[in-house]
Symmetry: C2
Subunit: 349 residues, 2 copies
Amino acid sequence: MKYENIVVRVGRMPLPGALTADAYEYCAEPLEALKPGEIRIETIYASIDAGARGMLDPSANYPMLLRPGNRVYTSGVVGRVIESLDPAFVPGEFVRALSVTRQKYLTVAPKRTLGVRKVDPSDGPLHIHIGSLGMTGFTAWIGTFTIGLPKPGETMLVSAAAGAVGSVAGQIAKAIGARVVGIAGGAEKCSAVVSRFGFDACIDYKSDGLGEAMDAACPVGIDIYFENVGGAIQKLAMERMNMFGRIIMCGQVSQYDGNGGGSEGGPNLMNVINRRLNLRGFISSDHMDAFPAFERSALSLVRSGKLISYATVTKGFDQLHDAVNSLTQGRNFGQQVHQMADDPMTSDC
Amino acid sequence: MKYENIVVRVGRMPLPGALTADAYEYCAEPLEALKPGEIRIETIYASIDAGARGMLDPSANYPMLLRPGNRVYTSGVVGRVIESLDPAFVPGEFVRALSVTRQKYLTVAPKRTLGVRKVDPSDGPLHIHIGSLGMTGFTAWIGTFTIGLPKPGETMLVSAAAGAVGSVAGQIAKAIGARVVGIAGGAEKCSAVVSRFGFDACIDYKSDGLGEAMDAACPVGIDIYFENVGGAIQKLAMERMNMFGRIIMCGQVSQYDGNGGGSEGGPNLMNVINRRLNLRGFISSDHMDAFPAFERSALSLVRSGKLISYATVTKGFDQLHDAVNSLTQGRNFGQQVHQMADDPMTSDC
């Protein structure tokens, strides 16, 4: 077989604000013949993660910065094997790979590549494997269970609760008996955070009286704050933390906006002492040795119906900029996914 | 024997700034006869701790707030037994008690009171037992060894390095092989932090170019920051933390000044995520189960000459306000101590 690959690369470094189509280039490139142990995957879905915009913004102080011509990273893809020189993988099977680049045809050696495994389409939509069961779910799991350590009856507040990480964090804390309160933008999202993801309450950060709303939703204070946003919400949450509270520093999406993010002052840290708080930053890729434990745990929750996934899908191989904008503009609900090929498991393709 | 006691109580709640003499009252009060198991101590020295001013300022957000008429707390006293109904204690012996109130004659039951033990005058000046070997030393030890966890070769930055807690923190980190950099006010103090306490370097926060001075003194960044001051120094230190750095949140003395402390914004917390930092607040009294381990460790360092103590002594039973001012105005070097009776172990009494 002879294919031509398409590799997604950074085009022009964007100006502040929404991305335009020229932020990415879709480069036709030849494919080499497979080497022993390699397989070739046609990418169906690739994850869009909260850092996608920050990686294109030198002022965002994001952990990874891309430059024009660089290949574009994704925390995970799911697709179908089209060629294989690894006897454990057969063409036609569905597979998932973590922390790879966006290409029409991805070549990986399963034994030497992170998180390549077959996926069972009966577990749910294919993109669940790059969402709740992928790096975003893993991020929620590491933050919740290595830093937050919620106990039954404790209150965990989750910002960006309608997003991929926040929605999983709330559900897994709820599954162990915590009271879970979300923060999301708009009445519709808040309602869905409660009805679909099963949070006990959800606060609309776009409405007035955010502090009062936090007080009402967390009447005995906050034991754990899963921090995805930073800014004003961070300050209000810090003031409401209980003694010995934990703050899971996962993201500060309010600071990635291409306008000199990372410069806005944070909360006064006096309460960190008074209330013996523990704030800890983390990046899930530092914890990959825990991925198998996560996978067993999350798969069991998915199969028992305790971990629900939703995805917002942007279709079209060349629509990556719009998929990123969907995330940064808060148009997504749940995981934001970029669909790069037809999904044979859905009826509309 | 019949004594009249003098108990130190809060007088008038102070205005912002230095304390005046009427901040405290020295109240003559009768003493009851001892009950079985009790001893009576004539207080020679009482510790003055960083929170002494914050406890009189409702706006300081300090963990403990005193009101007019309240007895005044101290983290420790050292004195001499003058009466005893506990057969293990004999009049004339020197003893130390932790977390008690300031009185001319302190009545305690050693078996039911925190940290009452005999002290050996050959270990050094009597006040060492309420300094390096008391709650201030314990605070340094808990912060350093339960949160900071310095390893040989790592860089630990210590603010308020000439103070009671900071000077011990730096010395115990140095004793396990860390590189230790202090921050103190003025060239004289900085010089003494290096020459007396053995820090590798000390930065004068009163001089210009504090950030550049930190860069020069910490050429490979900061692994551990022992935070006693908050404010501008906190922000500069945060920007220079290395990956996986730890911030020991012990105090924010810059925020206790009676001018609405605790309201100044803190550093942007983006670096907490990027660099996987861990900030943890603590109060040493939460950790009293570790006190015996601390005591063995610190006493061994004192006896081997690796933990040096200095104290600034304010003499005069009714001079507590001046002793507190000495601390808040940075007139002290090392432990700030309030001398309430003659010290038979020093030649000038």
